[in-house]
């Protein structure tokens, strides 16, 4: 494991260096929270959020922001996962995060608006459909390569109660392209380029939304409680292609219509409910804990349903062209629901009246939702131990117009314990094993802006004098 961690660290650092010229840094993950502070606490701080991480973690925290916040972050996720001893071809993911929180008041009631955006590898998503016979790390291949974009609002109707709600967005694809004309068959001499064809496209990039709800409650001063819910995140891809025209085979022109359809859920994150608590036994010490329920049993299948249809006037039995096929339903995933316990510890050290640093640590255990006995699938996953460490620097009123500056750093090591399972996808049941580690490095810079007008403030002060 030590060698693997060293390799991961190397991959992470080299990835970080190659991205050093990018303008910003970090990632709101549907998996492990938004920003470096959440990452260094293993996302156990759902009851103690006051920045852009609240938008995806628990929107009720948006109204707690001490001022208008603009944050940028960077995360580097490197993985070293193995299926049956072979390394899984998972690329290092580099995520840029941007957050905006605007708190305020309406009729003296605190309210707030927030936005969180994470852009993995400079893309909104990178997704693929897979074959059931292909070894597939289903929880690592698609979701971490998906854009997180969420907006939320919060209101604090009572001094100890805050409520929040928001919407997250992902994009699905539904499209068709059609080709018509005369397609000349290849003869080895370039005759296919005599084809005379045109095409059309009719495609929608659909917006799929999921709800995010949150509640924050402070029953007594050293204790904060949080409850949050996020709906399922589902990305569909449905693509149709049609070739409609003549197929020229030498002097013979055969009217042909060939159509295919592929349909799949290429990324899925289940609905989840989290109960969180933060206790501050000392002024500068915070203990965080949360219990997350992820309803993975609602995941239908990661596989594709493909259908094809061929219409021609060639006599059947010639064997030149294959028959129609309506396709078969994809094999179900048969995932199980899971609970994820998380704990975190945060200790702040004062450096002066206006600055402090914090040390943080966290742990989470993620039991695999993937079944150990699979009949029609070859889905790899492990039970995971998440170890997180990090630190933070806070500068209060460093210079105008900044009310506060926060710099957070995080290192997260996810150790996947070796896990054996059986699959019958190749007809004869065979034993397989999955293992590996993931390493995430992250940094977030957050700048809170002063809501006061310095000119008016100084004028007021002068008047008071």
């Amino acid at each position: 494991m030590r060698a693997r961690v060293a390799a991961l660290l190397g991959a992470s650092l080299s990835g970080a260096l190659t991205l050093a010229t990018l303008p910003a840094v970090a990632s709101p993950s549907t998996q492990r929270g938004f920003g470096a502070r959440a990452g260094s606490l293993a996302a156990a701080n759902g009851a103690d959020l006051d920045d852009a991480s609240a938008v995806v973690g628990n929107p009720s925290g948006i109204s707690h922001a001490p001022g208008t916040l603009v944050s940028v972050g960077y995360e580097n996720h490197a993985s070293s996962l193995e299926h049956d001893g072979a390394e899984a071809p998972l690329e290092t993911i580099q995520t840029v995060e941007v957050g905006l929180v605007v708190p305020g008041e309406i009729l003296t009631i605190p309210v707030g608006f927030g936005l969180a955006l994470a852009l993995p590898d400079g893309r909104f998503s990178k997704l693929r459909q897979v074959e059931p016979t292909e070894p597939y790390f289903v929880l690592d291949d698609a979701v971490p390569r998906l854009l997180d974009l969420a907006v939320g609002v919060a209101v604090e109707p009572l001094s100890r109660l805050s409520l929040g709600g928001g919407v997250g967005f992902v994009s699905s694809l539904e499209g068709a392209f059609r080709i018509r004309g005369t397609a000349a068959s290849a003869d080895g001499m370039g005759a296919e380029y005599d084809s005379s064809l045109t095409h059309s496209v009719d495609a929608d990039l659909l917006s799929s939304r999921y709800p995010i709800l949150g509640l924050g409650y402070v029953p007594v001063d050293p204790i904060s409680l949080g409850l949050s819910y996020r709906g399922a995140v589902k990305v569909n891809q449905r693509i149709e292609g049609t070739l409609n025209g003549d197929l020229a085979i030498g002097p013979l022109a055969v009217p042909v219509t060939y159509a295919f359809t592929t349909d799949a859920i290429v990324a899925y994150s289940p609905p989840e409910l989290a109960l969180s608590a933060t206790v501050r036994p000392l002024e500068r010490l915070a203990l965080h804990a949360s219990l997350l329920f992820r309803r993975y049993s609602t995941f239908p299948s990661p596989y594709t349903r493909t259908a094809s249809r061929l219409v021609t006037n060639l006599p059947p039995g010639l064997g030149l062209l294959p028959p129609d096929d309506p396709g078969t339903p994809p094999p179900p995933a048969r995932f199980r629901d899971r609970f994820v316990p998380r704990v975190g510890l945060e200790r702040e050290f004062g450096l002066g009246p206006a600055s402090s640093i914090a040390a943080r640590g966290g742990y989470a255990y993620e039991h695999s939702p993937v079944p150990v006995s699979q009949r029609e699938t070859l889905l790899f996953d492990m039970n995971r131990h998440v170890f997180a460490l990090g630190g933070g620097l806070r500068l209060r009123r460093p210079l105008q117009p900044f009310a506060e500056l926060r710099l957070d750093l995080a290192v997260e090591l996810v150790h996947g314990a070796r896990r054996a399972f059986e699959s019958g996808v190749t007809r004869e049941p065979t034993r397989h094993r999955a293992e590996g580690d993931l390493l995430a490095l992250g940094a977030t810079l957050g700048v809170f802006f002063d809501d006061d007008d310095p000119d008016q403030a100084s004028a007021g002060a002068a008047g008071a004098r």
């Binding site: 909104f124 998503s125 499209g175 059609r178 080709i179 397609a183 197929l247 060939y258």
Partner: protein, 407 residues
């Protein structure tokens, strides 16, 4: 075995409804004007320099619906062009980041259709379409910007961001049945925005903004396509789903008491556009010619669009009422369609009206806006040769409701 492999690449999408009818209820009521005004979050789309004057934190919501009534008359027979209702939900936020002598502000605005981010409809060559009218209303508008103000001079910069799709589709059919795999990448497409504004003599404002090209391409290649033992040519499904050209806006406004009048002009550089569709077969350099001819350039023209608008503000304690009106003339960049192509468009006259009601901040800090805009498409005839003619007519009606809450 049947194998059909497609490579879909790059389908960026454009921020277009605001370009077509105006940004937000105020922008629509002023017939697309607003480059020189304080437009709240919508300044991120029009002129980010306006964000430097943002005094209050503002959260904006809105709804827009645009209905098209377009008809095509061909050789005496009139048919109605089937254009879908276009609508969008708006959410935006603007906030001052610093006050005092040097002011800065940030703004973010998104208008999205309820069900999709963008719709790409590129029909077969020759099918009648209105690509610059109904086609431009079917996508997301997203903008973010920063504005700075020192004295009477404001400058701003921003970005419009959208989505781009790249991917790979494979379908293989063997005796056990078909199977498929699709891989896609959704890429961001960015277009920069910059602007400046000069406030002088307490009443006058002079502003200009430039917005970069936002282009929505798609490029699908059906490589090594096989129907049984028969191979066909690699296919290239390439084109443009949405396109907004380089735009330069200039506007001057004067405020006298409650009356504000605006006059502006917009330049749109359509001559750089190279067409909605690419060649279905890419001819290898080793061959002089192929059976599929490359598409011809559309020869769109640059256009200059003037506009005038005004608003009048009344204080009817405790509310503040504003009424607005505007007019714009939008010439068509598309030339007469004499050949097979039927990319249809016409000169547009846009008339707009609107109002705003604002409650006092100490009561409930909300402002409600509404706007209506009617665009008349002038009748236009295309001579198709052989005595055949094609004439287009139509209207476009837009209704917008908006609300802004000060936080």
């Amino acid at each position: 075995v049947v194998g059909l492999v497609a490579l879909l690449a790059a389908t960026p999408v454009g921020a277009t409804p605001a370009e077509l009818v105006g940004a937000g209820a105020e922008g629509v009521a002023l017939a697309g004007s607003g480059t020189s005004l304080d437009m709240g979050p919508h300044a991120a789309l029009l002129n980010p320099a306006g964000l430097g004057s943002q005094e209050d934190k503002e959260l904006a919501f809105g709804f827009r619906a645009t209905r098209f009534s377009l008809s095509i008359e061909r050789d005496g027979t009139t048919t109605r062009y089937p254009a879908d209702l276009s609508n969008g939900l708006t959410l935006g936020v603007a906030a001052p980041l610093s006050r005092g002598r040097f002011k800065t502000g940030i703004g973010l605005i998104a208008e999205t259709p309820p069900n999709f981010v963008v719709r790409a409809e590129v029909p077969f060559d020759g099918t009648p379409t209105f690509p610059l009218v109904s086609g431009r209303a079917q996508s997301l508008d997203f903008g973010a910007g920063l504005g700075f103000r020192l004295g009477g001079l404001s400058v701003g910069a921003g970005v419009r961001a959208l989505a781009a799709l790249a991917g790979r589709v494979a379908v293989v059919q063997d005796p056990a049945g078909p199977s498929g795999a699709v891989g896609t990448r959704l890429l961001p497409a960015w277009a920069p925005t910059a602007g400046l504004r000069l406030d002088f003599h307490t009443r006058w404002r002079l502003a200009a903004s430039i917005r970069g090209v936002l282009r929505a391409d798609f490029d699908a290649e059906v490589a090594s396509a096989r129907l049984g033992p028969i191979s066909v040519v690699p296919l290239n499904i390439e084109g443009v789903a949405a396109y907004e050209p380089l735009k330069i806006d200039a506007e001057v406004s004067e405020r006298r008491g409650g009356l504000e009048v605006l006059a502006g002009v917009r330049y749109e550089r359509w001559s750089a556009f190279d067409g909605w569709v690419g060649p279905t077969v890419v001819c290898p350099p080793s061959r002089g010619s192929c059976g599929t001819a490359p598409p011809t350039r559309p020869d769109y023209r640059d256009v200059v669009s003037p506009r005038v608008a005004g608003s009048y503000e009344l204080r009817l304690e405790p509310v503040t009422l504003a009424v607005r009106a505007g007019y714009t003339f939008a010439p068509s960049p598309i030339p007469e369609q004499k050949g097979v192509k039927n990319e249809l468009d016409a000169w547009r006259h846009g008339f707009a009206l609107g109002y705003s009601v604002a409650l006092p901040k100490d009561c409930f800090p909300i402002r409600l806006d509404a706007a209506y805009r009617l665009d008349l498409l002038a009748p236009r005839t295309h001579d198709k040769g052989g005595g055949s003619r094609l004439t287009t007519r139509g209207t476009m009606q837009t209704v917008v409701f908006g609300a802004g809450v000060n936080l």
